[in-house]
């Protein structure tokens, strides 16, 4: 149940079941199978619909848009999420505009998959979590891979609906085992899911006994879960971790109901601080639960600077377990 492999199998299933699915991306063909090997084997099985492209992120997105307008289901891979910048125009001014500006006479369900995130020493241009800049692009869904969400369920949702979506896959998730809820548990944590693209909630004890809510996605959710588990066991600090798949637009209901119980919220993300994912959470929660919080919402994000290559310097910039733990302690 390695995430990269499960994701590859999901794509294989999509290609098999749905003739409309087309994969595009740099170096995705066999034998290489993509920089992170997610698409390995797929071009051999589906040579017409799995296409290695030139190094042309703008055109990859733009051709995907055309495919989608024509009724196909393109899934474009961005080798490093840092290069989403080169797709920004297609995402903002083409893909997400077409359906609405054409008065629903067309749909443009492009799926963009991007390998994001740091902690690998790849340096300033190969380590970023730039998804925050795509939050709030009208008519764009942003969804984050996590170990608690079955990519099959996620892609079934993508392919069932007609909206464009940006799917961010933190690089450090690829080699991890998926830890899907089983019988209401993930390891020693109680797991509850709600929604079509479920928001997963994890806690060692029932929500009523938690003193802080933690909102996180992707790899940071995985880090947070380990901390939530450890603090519960070792120190009886009880937090409820909320892990949405879809991070924009957000379904705030699960967050609000958790914070209604705990009256304290920490948000966690690896992207740079300032106008980040958590800022909107803080804005919404501060408004919706005005006067009921015990303390201000704590937005944990990375330092707003370049991501250094040196291991020590990179760790000092990016959010990791230490920052998450400190924030949970403060807020509990």
């Amino acid at each position: 149940m390695i995430f990269a492999k499960e994701l590859g199998d999901t794509l294989r299933g999509a290609l098999t079941d749905d003739q409309r699915v087309v994969l595009l991306g740099e170096d995705i063909a066999d034998p290489y199978g993509g920089a992170f090997k997610v698409t390995r084997g797929l071009s051999t099985a589906f040579p017409a619909r799995v296409r290695t492209t030139p190094i042309s992120e703008g055109a990859i997105a733009g051709v995907s848009a055309g495919l989608a307008l024509a009724g196909y289901r393109p899934i474009a891979e961005v080798m490093f999420g840092d290069f989403l910048t080169l797709m920004f125009d297609q995402v903002v001014n083409h893909i997400t505009k077409y359906q609405t500006m054409y008065a629903d006479q067309a749909t443009c369900p492009v799926i963009i998959r991007a390998a994001t995130g740091g902690h690998r020493g790849y340096g300033p241009t190969h380590s970023q979590s730039l998804e925050k800049h795509f939050l709030g692009v009208p008519h764009l869904r942003v969804v984050a891979a996590s170990l608690y969400h079955d990519p099959r369920v996620v892609f079934a949702d993508f392919l069932r609906r007609d909206e464009p979506v940006l799917y961010v896959e933190h690089k450090l998730l690829y080699p991890q085992h998926l830890t899907l809820p089983v019988n209401g548990m993930v390891g020693d944590l109680i797991a509850t899911s709600s929604g079509m693209l479920p928001t997963v909630r994890l806690s060692a004890v029932p929500r009523e006994d938690c003193t802080v809510s933690v909102l996180a996605y992707g790899y940071q959710a995985h880090l947070a879960a380990k901390i939530v588990e450890r603090l519960a066991i070792e120190e009886e600090i009880f937090a409820e971790l909320i892990v949405p798949a879809q991070i924009a637009p957000m379904d705030w209901a699960p967050v609000l109901s958790s914070v209604t119980a705990t009256r304290s919220l920490v948000t966690v993300e690896e992207g740079a601080g300032g106008w980040s994912w958590g800022a909107e959470a803080a804005s919404v929660v501060s408004r919706e639960l005005f006067g009921t919080l015990r303390r201000p919402v704590d937005v944990v994000a990375s330092e707003p600077t370049i991501i250094p290559s040196s291991k020590a310097k990179e760790s000092a910039v990016l959010v990791g377990s230490a920052q998450i733990e400190a924030a949970i302690r403060r807020a509990s």
Binding site: V22, A48, R49, R51, T53, P54, S56, G58, A59, A61, G62, V63, S64, A65, G66, L67, A68, L69, A70, G71, Y72, P74, D89, Q90, N93, H94, K97, Y98, T100, M101, Y102, A103, D104, Q105, A106, T107
Partner: protein, 309 residues
Amino acid sequence: MSTALAPARTDERLTGVPGEPLDHRRYRRMRFIRRFEETLLQLFEEGALNGTTHACIGQEADAVAVTEHLTEGDHIFSNHRCHGHYLAHSGDALGLMAEIMGKEAGVCRGLGGSQHICAPGFKSNGVQGGIVPNAAGIALANQLSGNDAVSVVFIGDGTLGEGVVYETLNMASLWKLPLLVVCEDNRWAQSTPIAANMAGSFPGRFSAFGVPVRSVDSTDVAEISQAAGQEIAAVRAGEGPRVLLIHTYRLCHHSKSDDERPEQEIAERWLVEPLVVHGRRLSDSDRLRIDDEVETALGEVVATARALP
């Protein structure tokens, strides 16, 4: 995917009367576009319209010639200067007029306006260059579906400044996509003459990517149509992407009232504009009759559009 809001509303007096000679039909269709654009500019001056518009006066032959060879299933992607392409494609004067007037009956319910049009087989967008990969994606869809439909994209000379055009030419050529790029070189991009915008070789911009280019230096609809027919047939036959490069001229200002080009240059081009060039093939009386029919039909369109909620 596409679900039309309403069938395109056409009027034979604008789009061609059954049985009339091809020369008449072509003249009529160009005249229709010309007068639509002129009417629009007049409405703008009256203050009856909101926003902006880019008229294609002088370039009508391109739209009429290219669309003659397109058929059900083919697709046009157009740019900011899309009215002629759209009208030649659909004949839907009322839908476009209502759209530009911002009315609910507009082809995109007034959401898109002049530059953002969608109807079966047709789309446009106002961002230079980005529509080229979009059209290539439609071509790829056709290729995957195994049909022989053609995806056509119209761009201007200035749009060759945008890098994504080259990214797409490369991909389309590598994958032999059934894509026709129609490049309307009207010598200017907004206020910038082509010499300040383009270095090197115009056809070389395409042939460097292995995409054959057919250049036509003409405002004659018949000549352009012949070239377009051959290019579209080649694309339809699966020979891969091709470019039809039409050297033409824009007679009006770029958008509403911005024109600083040499008057002499413009005056010379009025002497060889498509209606003059092709109009010679018709008798004076036929021309006048068609002009009249177009005028009446367009007048009705405007009146109807004005009365729309």
